[in-house]
């Protein structure tokens, strides 16, 4: 049963939206329908953060708790507002008194032209809701998706570092229980649906409903974070006729662990599984922190990153190297396959009509196993990779007679940005597997790469650079395995 309305809180006010084109973004809704112009459009592609707003939602495991998530409103469709509280820069002032996130910027002279400022205020606000005494690293992570062209950032960093511990509680803290209560009420509403301008949006609440919806409307577009999908609308002026939002399906938005695996729901945003993955695979955690921005990671999902099948998606090469599997669901029937097998050709996958990605299973590391990841991009943060190398190695440290060995018993090398799909390098693996690594062997391995890949040149990198870097990353991996003290990554000098 569906209602053709969505319901959310605009700060403390309950709002109902109906008869609106679901292709409308939150930014457009704010500026053109609510006439709240504090939130700015800088790019309409999720790259600059001027449009940052904060969504407060009930925590999945503790329904008395609110999570404050910064997102790019320019690439988030209005449907995603359902059941959440939308907080914008206009909501922070308490009468005439500026919020901590605002006052600290003024005190540190952290504004010049001011256009990026509302976005920074909201990102800082969300950060301090999470941690009243953030470290410099946490500040940099929270604000990496907000571009400023005027200040050079130092003053903004100082502002965000200023502790909010001693500050009186803000209006959101004062209304905390009412907000929890109001959002709890919204959870009880039937499946949200929006119909406007001949276009449709629906947010099924469970797998059964989702599967059924996709059988009925096989041409529907699956929407999770929408951090790439929305650009077809905001940049290419496409109109999506039928959007099926998977983020409301609880089974898809959770993370579980078994003894041997981490199981991540396809609709769980990056920000909710990064810590778990970092625990088991530190390189992976560090790499994910460079995917997009905080705003993007609060929306974007693994299901989206895989399903989008971009040759430069960052998760697939890592998942392939880890030997991860994925489970697909179609009308009550499930099948599981290696992530590696899912990609056929440029933007073509094995996904059938009416089928969706349900979960991704990542094996936990066993003794002697390491994952090394290298993301190469022009700008360190919030940049699409030129090349991503994922190298999974298993080394036995003792042979049958108990001597130190270091034979490579298993190796999987996968790349993004080197072919039309994320791909392993069987020739390179064949050179290394079953052997002890030597410089000579590494040189052979580098040569073997040219057999498996003929990368292209584009705006991000030349073909020659891609191949040279891919080869050098094999070298770098070798150096790191040989020595625990060698310095090999500029990132450690952040």
């Amino acid at each position: 049963m569906t209602n053709s309305t969505i319901h959310f809180l605009l700060n403390n006010k309950r709002v109902t939206i109906e008869n609106i084109d679901p292709n409308l973004t939150i930014l457009q809704y704010l500026r053109e329908i609510q006439f709240n112009t504090g939130t700015k459009e800088g790019c309409a592609s999720g790259d600059c953060g001027a449009c940052t707003v904060v969504l407060a939602e009930l925590d999945a495991t503790d329904n008395t708790k609110l999570n404050y998530q910064s997102i790019n409103s320019c690439i988030t469709f209005v449907g995603s507002l359902h059941g959440k509280q939308l907080i914008t820069v206009e909501d922070l002032k308490d009468g005439a008194k500026l919020h901590h996130a605002q006052q600290t910027l003024i005190d540190n002279h952290g504004t010049q032209c001011g256009f990026c400022t509302p976005g920074f205020v909201m990102s800082s606000f969300a950060l301090h809701k999470h941690n009243k005494k953030p470290t410099r690293a946490e500040v940099l992570e929270a604000l990496a998706g907000n571009l400023c062209r005027c200040t050079g950032y130092r003053s903004i960093i100082e502002a965000a570092l200023t502790e909010s511990v001693a500050v009186e509680s803000d209006t959101f803290a004062q209304h905390y229980e009412q907000t929890v209560s109001a959002l709890t009420e919204l959870q009880k509403l039937p499946t949200p649906c929006l119909i406007g301008n001949g276009n449709r949006y629906i947010a099924p609440k469970d797998i059964g409903e989702l599967a059924h919806e996709l059988i009925n409307e096989p041409k529907s577009i699956l929407l999770a974070g929408g951090t790439d999908l929305a650009l077809s609308v905001t940049q290419n002026l496409a109109i999506i006729n039928s959007l099926v939002y998977v983020g409301g399906v609880k089974e898809l938005a959770k993370i579980e662990e078994s003894d041997s695996e981490i199981i991540i729901g396809s609709a769980l945003p990056y920000s909710k599984f990064i810590d778990t993955l970092h625990h088991y695979y530190p390189d992976l955690g560090e790499m994910i922190e460079r995917i997009g921005s905080k705003q993007v990671r609060n929306n974007g999902t693994l299901g989206g990153n895989i399903g989008n099948a971009s040759p430069i998606g960052d998760m697939p090469p890592a998942l392939i190297a880890l030997g991860a599997t994925m489970t697909l669901h179609r009308n009550g029937v499930e099948r599981t396959m290696l992530v590696e097998d899912f990609f056929i050709d440029y933007k073509k996958t094995l996904l059938k009509p009416s089928e969706f990605i349900k979960s991704i299973q990542i094996p936990k590391p066993l003794a002697g196993q390491t994952l090394k990841l290298y993301k190469i991009s022009k700008r360190f943060d919030d940049d699409i990779s030129a090349v991503l190398a994922a190298i999974f190695i298993e080394q036995k440290t003792q042979n049958a007679t108990g001597c130190i060995d270091n034979t490579i018993t298993e190796i999987r090398i996968a790349f993004g940005g080197m072919a039309a799909i994320p791909k392993r390098s069987p020739s390179t693996e064949a050179v290394l597997k079953g052997n002890v690594l030597t410089q000579t062997l590494i040189e052979q391995a580098k040569e073997a790469l040219t057999t498996d890949f003929q990368p292209m040149s584009d705006v991000r990198a030349s073909d020659k650079y891609r191949m040279t870097v891919a080869q050098n990353l094999i070298e770098k991996c070798y150096l790191e395995l040989q020595s625990k003290t060698i310095e090999t990554r500029v990132v450690n000098y952040a």
């Binding site: 504090g38 800088g42 790019c43 600059c48 206009e90 950032y153 003053s155 360190f380 990353l473 000098y493």
Partner: protein, 794 residues
Amino acid sequence: MRSLINVKKANSNSNESLHSESNNVGLGGVGRSKKHESADKQVSGEAIYIDDRPSSRGELHAAVGQSEHAHATIVSMDLSEVKAAEGVIAVITVDDVPGHTDIGPVFPGDPVLALGKVEYVGQPLFAVAATSYDLARKAVKLAKVEYQVLDAVLTVKEALTKKNYVRPPFTMKRGDSDKAIANAEHQLSGSILVGGQEHMYLEGQVSTAEPTEDGGMNIYSSSQHPSEVQKLVAEVLAIPLNKVLVDMRRMGGGFGGKETQAAPWACIAALLANITKRPVKFKLSRMDDMIMTGKRHPFENNYTVGFDNNGQIKGINIEVNGNCGYSPDLSDAIVDRAMFHSDNAYFLDQASVTGNRCKLNTVSHTAYRGFGGPQGMMTIEMVMDDIARHLGKDPLAIRKINLYGKDDRNVTHYHQDVEHNNLAEIIDTLEETSDYQARRKAVTEFNFNNKVLKKGIALTPVKFGISFTVQHLNQAGALIHIYTDGTIHLNHGGTEMGQGLNTKVAQIVAHEFQVDVDTVAISSTRTDKVPNTSPTAASSGTDLNGKAAEAAAKTIKQRLIDFACEKYAINAKQVKFDNNHIIAGEQRFSFAEFIQLAYMERVSLSSTGFYKTPKIHFDRATATGRPFFYFATGAAVSEVIIDTLTGEYKTLRTDILQDVGHSINPAIDIGQIEGAFVQGMGWLTTEELVWNEQGRLLSNNPATYKIPAINDAPADFRVALVPDAPNREHTIYNSKAVGEPPFMLGISVWSALKDAIASIADYKQSPILDTPATPERVLWAVQAIKAKEVSKDR
């Protein structure tokens, strides 16, 4: 003999005084770190930018159809489907322009809509007014245009070969450089490709046009030059200037990208408003903005130099070739400035500097912070590094030995004296405070012990000429009213784009009357308040408008003094302005009380003010003169770490010492230095403009064009202002311009990257590193040095 500046009490970015509450209460006069006049509104989302303004009744939205080819004749243009598209109210081509069709700001060459041919991919062909922003942008895609494609010139090399220029070449000479080079003990030559830069102001181009009852037009435009927008709108509409009004309160960033590049959109909005008789808003999407507006000129420079055993230059030939795009725009002055700054901080002795203005079939490149200066300086900074490696010396030693002197070696190659020269003191002091020598040793040692990662460190100076090199632009006006309640209304011809101009000018006026700075209300820059204004550019906003506002304030102040003398039978010495009060002999009044008194006695409380820069002149025919009122100086030390396997790198630490004279607002000045440096660093590192072989811009959105993000700024970032150094020229409160000069300190990062790469060959080779020095270019430079090392060992 080193003379060090005492920086113990210098204003710096770690200074508590920047944050003191006292800055924001009470007298916010000159020298205080008063907060930005819009700060409170910016953080609360209440600051209104043009796209935030309420829509006018019946407002339409504009979009333009764009050329698909870099060079072609338009054979036919079928706009029937565009006209029939949903929401479309009007469609215009160049044939519908009632007045001038060329809107070139200095020289002709910029048709407002294509006139029979197209000269770059993205050039506007026709314009549409529709009922919504999306409908307008969808409609323009429906045009059917037939082209006859012509050969496009897409490289500087081809432009030079064909002598395809937007303006004629120009040379500045002193003495006989060829002879001096030949006679010198050493000779070197080199060349460099210097990339352009996209402004990436966070607020894109936007204009609104509303027809008035007099057949005129009211324009809101995010523009650095409202007077020029006024002029061009009047010209395209064939109406007099006094019927066009342009209002500009604030830009969300400019950087030069809105000096001339805002006008076309205002003109098109005006043309559509004129035809439909309805208000029209023209906002460019980010991608359209990046495709259709000019950027910093890419340059291709080369040099031949002769120097002695100490590395001192005896003679030099420099050629700078500006990639100007398809039309002149401001290219003449920009390439001139590249030529003026081919010396940076160094005495060139016998020199010849030639600048070519190459015409290519791309968007027409335009003003951008530094205005050719940064690109010109790259050559000589390359020369310094190259000489150093050739002689086996520290590049800093070579820079020092070539610095302009105080009593001799103190004339530029265009024959201006370098007066009040503090370059040596700045460099020596920064060398000390940044711990350069110790860190130089530490860097070399790190490199000896590390195979994959290498560090680099470099100190580079800047000497930047302050004034518009086009003399007539060095003028400014202001308008001040004092109302009967004692509140002050301030207006001037400068435009606020974040640089704090309005804040500083308000401080100047408040200081003059000795009242709280909150007594002064800032108002929009409007062509009906101050006429015929220059663009806010050349770092001259505060210099020019500050002086004009001071003049207006002084005029009113004198009237009040004269009035007090007459009324109370006292002399001028007995009239004092002090802390929101006026003391007249034995009497003491609040400022507001006295103003009311003056009003009742019919004293005029409103005045204009005007200023023009003295002393400056330049004879282009002989390439001699004094084009700059003074020079702004500074230096930076940057330390980087690079990955020799991938080319990736990070800037670890930057120290800056900048001379801003007597600072009117230290916090604003420091903010300008930090922002300029990071932008300069971005220009030389991650910001890469890529055009394909058909002349199409591939890096046309922020997903493909990467400006520095928060993690890219140096983690350890130390900025100090030279203390106790009033500008020796009579500038406003003896301050110095700060908008552009620190931008060029970003060159220290590029030099540091080369230093890191050079470590691979034991500092004996000078790496060739074109810019932007992306990880890819750094990796190739690393490989080239390694290859040279290998071939040497054979």
